[in-house]
Symmetry: C2
Subunit: 231 residues, 2 copies
DNA sequence: GCATATTTGTCCGTATGTATA
DNA sequence: CTATACATACGGACAAATATG
């Protein structure tokens, strides 16, 4: 392993901002910092997260860092290999299919449950749609991706089920990992914004079934497109 | 806090068998030990899991125990209260409803997907049914509960989706926690075994829709019964 | 295949801050 | 309000496993 100091330096550079000493426990703050780096693709899949280097860069003890690793591993963002260390998760095509199969189970069902959701829940969906269209308007692709995530989280939120929200959040974070593996075009989400708007409008009009079917088609096509982008 | 030594002694007594020094990491083995204690109701909901006492009882360091706590908290089996410690999760009626809502989303869908499942997957469901009937025959209620869990895991397994299996396993473990909170009759699961058999038979006969509807009714009634037992 | 260096796994001691009797 | 118990967090140590030359 040549270039050790050089590689370590590159890894350390990413964490110039030390973990803020407030709010929750140190381990949880470390999780937040690492998660955002993973979501934004600043840590390439397969990268080993050295305990020594990271602990020094984040200015936390190895013990605390290991607690954070356990959480991230449970979130499937990293993989913990015994006696070898922790690595940024590398997603496969099967992972993408698995994620979309679950989403296809959850999201259309959530859309169909719109009649039992409150107006506040539905307005959150509308808000995410607006957020996405505005981001596209100013050609801000990262923001478009985030808004799209908010849209699907808001849709899942229609079921008012904390556990389901957690599962959905988990899946969407994993999605972003997958994204950086098979890097599709930057404007990948752009064409889907109109579908988001259509689904939202149908739900507002009480046409839950049409909305759900649109969502099903949407997820199917998005999955196919990602799987193609993989090869 | 009177009776401290007495309470600690009672907690320590439960862990007379030290964690076996083999297989995976120590933290993971601690998780396994604690999880099985929680599932079998040997740790009452609300109990505080003292780091000092538990670390001594399990013969592991407090650092290692804390890693295990992070995992168990993410599994929702314990709650981590900042600066106060770790407590056995206490489930509410809303939790039970939330769990059954998710199960009602997953399990009927899994049943309907039986046509795309392999014969090996379906035979695992049959195996769990047989296991349950045998346990009931010998009046072994804990074994009946375990077999019932195996049945529902096997049903979810029909979708051949690792993430869904994880979610399902999670939910079933939580179910067992709920069970010890509102302690329903020991033979709670006994009458449901016949429904399991019926669902399995219908699936084997290719009547997926009838099987799915039976499952829906099953989950609805089981939830209502548990919610009633709560009050 | 072997010797060496690195890194993880695990433990201990301790200082500090927070919650509770 | 004070004292105590406890969790939080750190740093150092060492064995064991792994990676390197």
């Amino acid at each position: 392993m040549r270039n050790r100091s050089e590689r370590d330096g590159a890894l350390a550079e990413l964490f110039t901002t030390p973990v803020q000493p407030v709010l929750a426990s140190t381990a949880e703050r470390v999780v937040d910092v690492l998660r955002s780096h993973l979501i934004e693709g600043r840590l390439a899949p397969g990268t080993r997260l050295s305990e020594e280097v990271l602990a020094a860069a984040l200015n936390v003890s190895r013990n605390t860092l290991r607690e954070a690793f356990r959480i991230l591993a449970h979130e499937r963002l990293v993989v913990h290999e015994m006696n070898r260390g922790v690595f940024v998760r590398r997603l496969s095509v099967e992972d993408v299919r698995s994620i979309y199969q679950l989403r296809s189970l959850i999201e259309p069902a959530a859309v169909r449950s719109v009649h039992s959701a409150g107006a506040a829940d539905l307005s959150r969906v509308r808000l995410a749609v607006t957020e996405g269209l505005a981001a596209r308007e100013r050609v801000d692709w990262p923001a478009v991706g985030t808004a799209n995530m908010h849209f699907h989280l808001a849709v899942a939120g229609l079921m008012r089920n904390a556990r389901l929200n957690a599962v959905m959040g988990q899946l969407l974070v994993e999605m972003r990992l997958a994204f950086h593996v098979m890097n599709p075009p930057e404007d990948f989400y752009a064409p889907y914004l109109d579908e988001n708007e259509r689904i939202c409008r149908l739900m507002e009009a009480g046409q839950a079934e049409e909305a759900a079917e649109t969502m099903e088609g949407y997820l199917h096509r998005a999955c196919e497109q990602l799987v193609r982008a993989f090869g």
